[in-house]
Structure formats: structure tokens, C-alpha cells
Amino acid sequence: MRAGRLVADLQVAGRVEAGFTAEPGEVLAVIGPNGAGKSSLLHAIAGLVDATGRARLGDTDLLALPVRERRVGLVFQGQLLFPHLTALDNVAFGLRARGASRAESEAVARDWLERFGIADLAGRRPRELSGGQAQRVAIARALATGPDVLLLDEPFTGLDVSVQMALRMELGRHLRDFPGVALLVTHDAIDALTLADRVLVLDGGRVAQVGPPAEVAAEPRTSHVARLVGLNLVADGDTLLAFPPDAVVVSLQEPEGSTRLRWRGPIATLAPHGDAVRLMVHASPDLLADLTPAAATELGLVPGREVWLSTKATAVSRYPARR
């Protein structure tokens, strides 16, 4: 096992260009909008796309190694389970490829299926599995070989809530003991905040922010992260302003006072959100506002209606927009 610090600075032409380091044992969540380059980054580390730059794991230069010697465990976004092999054989594949005996591999594979609650489906081909069942097989397949680096590309997609919760637990336990580096791509704030030690935010192929989950959640630098953690984000010159939707006041007339923190625009949507009603308003930028159902009815809010939004300066956190 080559546990070690992962120091990467990788470029995939036209897709991603990102530098970061990750300590052994660390779980790094990779978040960002669609097309930000998350999968490309993982594939570059795994060696599946041509990348330039550097990627060192401890003393090893990953870029100089062919895919199979990089010892990564990759959960593909599209699963890519071998269609001609059973669930069991899919999971056992990596072990057998690394030289374990058939009996041994199958025992380990069966154990993983068991852990993921699909032991009874061991004999099925991928085509005979439901989407969520197949996803579990895909995760098991990547973990079973005991890789040095774990690359999980949206591992929880298609899983039902209980399985997601169970798997998050299972994976959390696994990752806590895991001596290597793990990269977890996700669109879910909970994953990023609960499973990760640090969060790497990609935007347009570049690193927009790196930091502990709490910091990223509190001071998001991209509108994507702000939306993910449910904050409004407004740029004011070199300063960013973040504030929660329930700190936004909605009114039909221009609010009084000299605050610069006011915006105007038509209501785009209006939907229940917990006990509140959540508005999305097409101001520049789009802003969220929560208010009580009673207030919403009273104001006669309907999609399309122009409203004013304002917020108290005290509810706003301000921080520089530096990179």
C-alpha cells in the first residue's frame, strides 16, 4: 500500500485545470456545477484521459504509470459494470485481476455485496438489476480491490434514502479507516458536509475554492456552492455578500432606508420549503427568499409578479472574493 500525500496539478485540455493536495486519510469532496470538470479530474488521476501536469502520490509519479498500476478505485458516473459478468463476478473481478484465487475473491466479493444489502442478487447480470442495485455493485467493485486512492464519482446517485443513509454510514466508516486519499464527487450538500474533511470547489474547469466544509458552507465563493448550501450570494466589487433566504424581506413597494442591499425582479417560482414558502426571484443575480405562507398569501405573491427584496446588513456575512 502506497499511502501518501496526493499532490496534483493536472490539465486536461478544454475540460479541467486544477491543482490541489490531499493528505493521506483525507476525504476531499469535489463539488461544482455540471461540466465543471469533476469527472475529468478524476479520470485524469486514474489515467483514463490524457492529462498534463503533475500527480504524485507519496513518492510515486502517478502520471508515469499506466492505469492499472495507479491502484485507484474508481466508481464511474455511468457505472460501466461488465455486462457479461454477474454482480458477484463484477465485484470479484479486481481481486482476481490482482492475483487472488477464485474462491478467495468470491468470498471477499460476497462479503461486500452483503454489506451493501444485495447478497441475494449475486448471481444477476447488470441488466437484471435495478438502477440502484447496480450502483451498489459499482461501489462495491471499486472498494473491493483495496485501492490506494479512492475516486467516487457521484456514488449515491439513484440510491433510495435508506440505502443512501446506510451507504453513507458504511462509506463513512470505511473512509475513516482508509489510509489513502479519497475524492468524492457529489451534488449533494450533505455528502460534502458530512463525509468530507475538505471541499474542493470547481467552476468552469478551475479551482474556485478549497477549505473545510464549514468554511466553504459559510463563505461560498461560487453561486453554485451558495445554492448548494442554500445561501444567497451577491458580489459587491471585490467583496462577496452571503445571506440566508430567511433573512430576506419581501415587499411590493421599494423598501425605505438607505440600505444598498435591495433588489427588484419578477418572481420566478414559489414553492413550499419546510414550513415556509420559498420564492425564487429573477433579480440580478437570482435570489431566494423564505417567508411564511400567511405573508405570501397576504402579499398576493404569484409567479411573474414584481417584488422588492431587501436584507438587514446584520444578517449578511461579507468576505473578500479573492481566489
Binding site: 483514463l48 492505469v67 492499472r68 461488465f82 455486462p83 457479461h84 473481478f93 485481476a97 467493485r141 480491490t145
Partner: protein, 263 residues
């Protein structure tokens, strides 16, 4: 997923029926004009049985060799980027267009007693291919290999290469990947290539006779026996062909069942 997609359209069924008729009618006409009562006679004739045995053995050995050598070549052409790939692919196609007799001549220039490779081979080992059963196998391999390689390469290229990548991330060497992922995924194409190659080799006549001649018990295959028989006894030749057809259909059906489960 079958007829749920709608009835097969006339636009496709009609040509398919025509194609079937085109293949069927000559066979029926031939079988109709063949004397079945000769068949048992051939089954006990030493010459016919010898020729049948040699045909089956040489084509089977030849197709085994074709797969052993040709499957890797097809894989290389389909999956590995290297300089000269286009040229190599063209080279593989060339023997296809050689009329069989010319193929025999080419083989002779290479492996004959005075051939490029044949002469040193004879000098060192005392062995020469022509007029031996090994020579027949060599001729079969030469004419069938292109069929095997091209058909299989086509199938490999239709298969999704991302599974190969997935196997590599799981630590599989290219060899393991080839054996456990690439080939199984393209299996129908590999079987098709094998069938084509085997059949081509079973029906092979021109190259074999040019390179190896025709001697009962060593180099006389069914097609050469049929050819020489035809010169004196047309009916016997046809009924020998029929024998060969029946045997090869039997083998093909058995193979398919064995390899592909239900046909």
C-alpha cells in the same frame, strides 16, 4: 425487446426473403439432382473417409491457429494505436483478393523447397511443407486468417472500449482484460469470424492443391477429392459434396449450441 418494437417491415423482410431464396434455391436444386443412394457408399469408401477426416482435421487445426494468431492481431488493429496501423490493416486484406491459385503460388514462393523461408528451413531441419498435411494446414491458415482477423476486428471495434478502461482501473493487465472483458464482450463477432474462417478453410481448394498437390491420405481434402472425381464422375462428385455439407452443418450446429447456448 423483440416484436414489441413493431413487426419487421416489408422493406427488410422482403430483401431477407430474397437473400434466403438466393442461397436456398441452388442448394435445393443441387440436392435434388444428387443421388442420395450413393451417400452410404461414400461413407464406407476409404478414400472419401480419408479425405473427410483430413478436411476436418486440417480445418480445425487451421482455425485454431487462426484464432491463436489472428485474435491478437485483430485486437491490435482494433485497440492499439501505432504507426502503420492503416498499412497493416490493408496488408491483412490483401490475401483476400488473391485468387486461391495465386495464393498457392505465393505460399510456394515463401515456403516451397526453394522458397524464401522454405529453402533455409529444409536445409536446417530437413522438413518441407509441400506435399504434407502440415502444408495443407499452412495453406488453410493463409487463406482463412484474413477472414478471421477482419471479421473479429469489426466486432471488436463495435464493442465499447470503456469497459477496457474500467478493467484497467481494477488492476487488470491488458492480457487479463483481453481475456476476460474484450473478447467475451465481442463474442458473437468472434464466433462469426471463427465460423467464416473454418468454413473458408473447409471449402478451400485452389491454394491447397497448388501448394500441396493431392495425395490420398496426406493432402487430399474433400474439395480436392471432389474436384478430381468430377473429371470422371459428375454424380459421385455431387454426392461427395452433399456428404461434406451434411457433416459441416452438423459441426457448425454443434459448435453454435456449445458456444452460444441456444442458437
Amino acid at each position: 425487446m423483440r416484436d414489441r418494437l413493431g413487426r419487421p417491415p416489408a422493406l427488410l423482410v422482403l430483401p431477407a426473403v430474397l437473400a434466403t431464396l438466393l442461397l436456398l434455391v441452388p442448394l435445393v436444386a443441387m440436392v435434388a439432382s444428387t443421388s442420395w443412394q450413393d451417400l452410404p457408399g461414400h461413407l464406407t469408401s476409404r478414400t472419401a473417409l480419408d479425405a473427410l477426416r483430413i478436411s476436418l482435421v486440417t480445418s480445425t487445426v487451421a482455425i485454431a491457429a487462426c484464432l491463436l494468431l489472428g485474435l491478437p492481431l485483430a485486437w491490435l488493429l482494433a485497440r492499439v494505436d501505432f504507426r502503420g496501423r492503416g498499412a497493416l490493416r490493408a496488408l491483412v486484406t490483401v490475401p483476400l483478393v488473391l485468387p486461391p491459385v495465386v495464393a498457392g503460388v505465393a505460399l510456394r514462393s515463401a515456403f516451397g523447397r526453394t522458397g524464401l523461408v522454405g529453402e533455409p528451413l529444409l536445409a536446417w531441419t530437413g522438413f518441407a511443407f509441400p506435399f504434407t498435411t502440415w502444408g495443407v494446414v499452412l495453406a488453410h491458415v493463409f487463406v482463412s486468417m484474413p477472414f478471421v482477423v477482419i471479421a473479429i476486428e469489426g466486432a471488436l471495434r463495435s464493442a465499447d472500449p470503456r469497459y477496457d478502461a474500467a478493467a484497467a482501473t481494477l488492476g487488470a493487465t491488458r492480457w487479463t482484460t483481453f481475456r476476460r472483458v474484450t473478447v467475451p464482450l465481442a463474442l458473437p463477432g468472434v464466433v462469426a469470424g471463427t465460423v467464416l474462417g473454418w468454413a473458408r478453410s473447409l471449402g478451400e481448394f485452389g491454394a491447397t492443391i497448388t501448394f500441396n498437390g493431392n495425395y490420398p491420405g496426406t493432402t487430399q481434402t474433400m474439395p480436392t477429392l471432389i474436384y478430381v472425381t468430377r473429371q470422371s464422375d459428375q454424380d459421385a462428385a455431387l454426392s461427395l459434396s452433399l456428404l461434406m455439407l451434411l457433416v459441416s452443418i452438423g459441426v457448425l450446429i454443434a459448435l453454435r449450441d456449445h458456444w452460444l447456448g441456444t442458437p
